[in-house]
């Protein structure tokens, strides 16, 4: 864990530009979606185009964190084979540090913005304080997938093409830029099986909802995160002994 932190520091020393960019990307995409769909979908968001934009922004940060960190971590073991062949480094460091570097960007860039939005729309400090919980669930789940995918990549080098499809599937089945209400009933009930669904749900509720926060969604997000990480790490550790022969 210490190694991860040091690696991070060496890698992202003073790259403020990276953090700016990590915010710019979802903001620009939010702008495009709002321009195209905002007007048509506003009726689902209390007639407010701004509300739609915020909903889209939250969804985008979640899915972009997930697909960005996991697809970068996918090759982390194989890419560092030169290093692994030279000095004794625990394999776990590489997927973890990739996800951790994305998490730092999330913490510095997106989180403050979400806090501001939450305080503005709900005037509730308690909700703002709960925001890190679903984000932690997201980070844990992404780390689990990162471990799983980097293990698979050691064996199958053509997996990135397939993984691209999987992330696209996760993207579309998550109600990010469309309201879940437009999806026909018999399809909609499957949307909740997207493992990122509770995270998006709880973040939107915290930032834009009212009344008592949606605690079950937060709990579900954290549970999925812990479960995902446990599963990913188990498979990673189970196969680790073979890595050196294949990279």
């Amino acid at each position: 864990m210490v190694l991860t932190e040091r690696m991070l520091r060496a890698r992202y020393r003073g790259s403020i530009l990276g953090i700016v960019w990590s915010l710019m990307n979802p903001l620009l995409m939010t702008g495009v979606y709002t321009a195209v769909f905002g007007y048509a979908f506003r009726q689902y968001y209390a007639g407010s185009v701004l509300h739609y934009a915020l909903v889209v922004f939250i969804g985008l940060t979640v899915i972009q964190f997930f697909s960005g960190s996991t697809s970068q971590a996918l090759s982390s073991i194989v890419v560092n084979s030169g290093l692994l062949n030279k000095i004794r480094v625990p394999f776990e460091v590489f997927p973890a540090s990739t996800v951790a570097s994305h998490a730092v960007q999330l913490g510095i860039g997106v989180l403050p913005l979400l806090i501001v939005v939450t305080l503005f729309s709900t005037h509730d400090v308690f909700r703002a304080l709960l925001l890190p919980l679903p984000l932690a669930g997201l980070i844990l789940f992404s780390a689990g997938v990162a471990y799983l995918m980097s293990t698979i990549y050691v064996y199958f080098r053509d997996i990135p093409h397939i993984y691209e499809l999987i992330t696209f599937f996760a993207w579309v089945t998550l109600p990010i830029f469309y309201p879940a209400a437009i999806v026909p009933e018999h399809v909609r009930r499957f949307l909740v099986f997207n493992p990122l669904f509770p995270t998006v749900q709880s973040l939107r509720d915290l930032a834009l909802g009212s009344g008592w926060p949606d605690l079950p969604s937060i709990a579900a997000s954290l549970a999925i995160g812990a479960l995902g990480l446990g599963l990913g790490l188990t498979i990673f550790t189970w196969r680790r002994r073979e890595f050196m022969d294949l990279i």
């Binding site: 060496a10 890698r11 480094v89 064996y155 053509d158």
Partner: protein, 260 residues
Amino acid sequence: MSSVRLEAVSLWRRLQEEASFDLKRRIFTLLKARRYERRRRRVLDAVSLDLPKGEKLGIIGPNGSGKSTMLKIICGILSPSEGKVSVEGSIAPLIELGAGFDPDLAVRDNILLYGVLLGHSAAEMRAKMPFILEFAELDEFADVPVRALSSGMVARLGFAIATDTNPDILILDEVLSVGDESFRNKSRRRIESMWHDHVTVLLVSHDLQFIRESCSRAIWMQAGGIVKDGSPGDVVDAYLRSVDSSAQERLARARARLAP
């Protein structure tokens, strides 16, 4: 007291095959009901070695005989399939220099990252930075990404980082031939300065003359096993004798090098 001890160490490695890296092809193979067989190869065969503290061991043998693999096992990069390894003291590994750098990062950041991975603290590495850059003769290139360096420069950098320590065990895998002539002399001097009585050295080299002169003991490895273990003179002579007629030319060259 022994500082490195191998007891009947064997290592099996999976052979890398084309099909084993492609999911689509693997599925087709399974569909065609062709048997998919994993092949394994014995890289080290019951190697036993006991190095007392301060021993300078020269390791010779043809390519693919397991020399580097044995060093990797001692470093802990590979773990043995059978047998026991015990190592006492800190190790400075110098294996295949320059392979582990991140090409997109600046030289400075690579030094930091690499040093940290070798087990030093970031503050320690920052303090050492000027000396490392100076030794590698890369002061002007500190902020240049490693991809822009020539391969000789990269090797120099690797050497400078790895030797900037005071190890108990020094592992040298063909590192005496790094860089140009002047850097080679410089690196040889640095290694000689690390060549204290209390430091255990394991050296893989095809420079038989150097092994003859500088080592206190030598082993000759062939096909994953130790063929001969003894004084450097005896082992080098036996190795040279065994190199058969098909390699007559190489032998002649080595003799020519040994002659003067």
